[in-house]
C-alpha cells in the first residue's frame, strides 16, 4: 500500500478510504477530452475497477486534448488505447473496455455492474440517457460538460438528489467541441474538477456538488455556483425510459415517392455494389465512409437510408438519429427493388 501512502495520510482518506477506493467500481461514458483527463488520476488513486464505454476511434484532431493517445493510436478504438495506457500505469486497477456507444438498449445492464457513473460524453441526448438510466438503476452521476473555455460540473441523483432533468428540463441541441472548438487545457481543468467529485463521492467526504452546478470559466479564471432543486415533474419511470430511449429504435419503412420529391435518399452500399442508382436526390455515402461524411448532411432535412438488404440501412439510420438527425428512416427496400420503383416513377412522369 506504499503506493497510496501520501493520500492515506490525509484524514479525509485514511486506510478506510483507501479500502473504499479499492472496492469502488466506476463507469466512465466517453473516452474523449474529459475521459482522458480524469482516467489516469482515477486509476492512479487505486480505484478497484474502471469501465470505459466509447465506440469511437482515435482521430488526429483528438490528439491536442485527448492525451492518452499518440499518433500510433489513430484509427484504433479509444477504449482499447486508454486501457493499454492505464494497465501500464496502475496494474492494481481492473479496466473493463466496451467498444460501443451507450444506447437505450445497453445502458441499464451496463450501469447495474458499477457503483458510480461518470458522464464524460459530448452529446446532449446521451446526457439524458445517462441521467435516466442512472435514476432507474439508482446510481449517482458525476457530470461535466464543456463549451469552449467554460465547463459545467455537477453530481446528479446523489442520495436521491436532483438530476440533469431538474437542471435542464428541456432536451435541446448544443454545439460539441468539434463544432465550437476547445483548448486541451480547458477540458483538462474541467476533467480534474470532475475527477475530484468522483473521489469525494467514493470517499464520502467534503461537500458534494449535488443540487449545485459549478460553472468554471477558464479564460477569465472565474467560477460561479448555482443551486437547483429536485423537481417532482422530472420523475423517471421505466415507461418513460422505454418511450424516450427504446421506442426510438429504427423500424424500416416502405419507400414513398415523397423521398424523391421533398427529401433525399442515402445509398450506404460500397461503391462497387450493383446496381448503381443514379438520381439527383440519391447521395452515395458508403457505410465505410459515413463518419467522414456525416458533417455534410443537414439535420433539418429528411433522409431515407437504403442498402442492399436493409440491414445496413437500419444501422446507419440509427446512427444518424443518435447524432441528432430527427427526420431519418431506414427503407425496407433494397437497391434492386428501389431501382424498379424509381424507373416506374420516371416512366409515369414521362407519360
Amino acid at each position: 500500500m506504499n503506493r497510496y501512502q501520501r493520500q492515506i495520510i490525509l484524514p479525509q482518506v485514511g486506510e478506510n478510504g483507501q479500502q473504499k477506493l479499492a472496492h469502488a467500481r466506476v463507469l466512465i461514458i466517453g473516452a474523449g477530452g474529459l475521459g482522458c483527463a480524469l482516467l489516469p488520476y482515477l486509476a492512479a488513486s487505486g480505484i478497484g475497477c474502471i469501465g470505459i464505454v466509447d465506440g469511437d476511434l482515435v482521430a488526429e484532431s483528438n490528439l491536442h486534448r485527448q492525451i492518452l493517445y499518440t499518433p500510433k493510436s489513430i484509427g484504433k478504438f479509444k477504449v482499447d488505447e486508454a486501457k493499454a495506457f492505464l494497465n501500464q500505469q496502475n496494474p492494481d486497477t481492473q479496466i473493463d473496455s466496451f467498444t460501443y456507444f451507450l444506447e437505450g438498449q445497453n445502458a441499464l445492464d451496463l450501469f447495474r455492474n458499477y457503483d458510480l457513473i461518470v458522464d464524460a460524453t459530448d452529446r446532449i441526448d446521451v446526457r439524458y440517457l445517462i441521467n435516466d438510466a442512472a435514476v432507474l438503476t439508482a446510481k449517482p452521476v458525476v457530470y461535466a460538460s464543456i463549451h469552449r473555455f467554460e465547463g459545467q460540473i455537477s453530481v446528479f441523483n446523489y442520495k436521491n438528489g436532483p438530476t440533469y432533468r431538474c437542471l435542464f428540463p428541456k432536451a435541446v441541441a448544443a454545439p460539441s467541441c468539434a463544432e465550437a472548438g476547445v483548448l486541451g487545457t480547458a477540458v483538462g481543468l474541467i476533467g480534474m474538477l470532475q475527477a475530484q467529485e468522483v473521489l469525494k463521492v467514493i470517499l464520502d467526504t467534503g461537500e458534494i456538488l449535488s443540487g449545485n452546478l459549478l460553472v468554471y470559466d477558464t479564460l477569465n479564471a472565474r467560477q460561479h455556483t448555482f443551486s437547483f432543486a429536485k423537481k417532482e415533474k422530472s420523475q423517471i419511470t421505466e415507461a418513460f425510459y422505454r418511450e424516450r430511449h427504446l421506442n426510438s429504435n429504427i423500424e424500416s419503412q416502405s419507400f414513398s415517392l415523397d423521398y424523391l420529391q421533398n427529401g433525399l435518399l442515402i445509398d450506404v452500399r460500397e461503391l462497387d455494389e450493383q446496381p448503381r442508382l443514379n438520381h439527383e436526390r440519391i447521395l452515395e455515402i458508403p457505410l465505410s465512409k459515413l463518419d467522414q461524411n456525416i458533417a455534410q448532411l443537414d439535420k433539418s432535412k429528411s433522409y431515407g437510408v437504403f442498402c442492399q438488404s436493409g440491414k445496413r440501412a437500419i444501422a446507419v439510420a440509427s446512427k444518424l438519429k443518435n447524432s441528432g438527425f430527427t427526420q431519418v428512416i431506414a427503407l425496407k427496400e433494397g437497391a434492386q427493388e428501389l431501382e424498379k420503383e424509381i424507373t416506374h416513377t420516371r416512366l409515369n412522369t414521362i407519360k
Binding site: G30, G32, G33, L34, G35, D119, A120, T121, D122, R123, I124, R127, A144, S145, I146, H147, R148, E150, G151, Q152, L167, F168, P169, K170, V172, A173, A174, P175, S176, C177, A180, V182, V187, L213, V215, D217, N220, H224, T225, F226, S227, F228, A229, K231
Partner: protein, 79 residues
Amino acid sequence: MEVTMKYFGQLVDVIGSHEEQKSIKVNTTDELLQQLSENYAISHIPFQLAVNDQLIGDEEAVKLNDGDVVALLPPYAGG
C-alpha cells in the same frame, strides 16, 4: 431598478459580454426575458435562468428586486 446580468456559453458570443449592469423598468423575470429577446437574437439558444445563484423553473416568473443578479445558463454538450 439596477440588476446585474451574467451570460454563459453561446450567449456570451451573441450578447458580446459575459456581464453587464442593466437599468430595467420591468418587474419580473419573464418581462426581463421578453425585453432581452427583443434586444438580442437569443431565441435559438436554450438556457435556464438563475436569480441570485438560484435556478428557477420555466413556469416560474420571479419578482425582481434592485441589486439582483440574473444569470442565463445554457446547457453545454462538449466533452
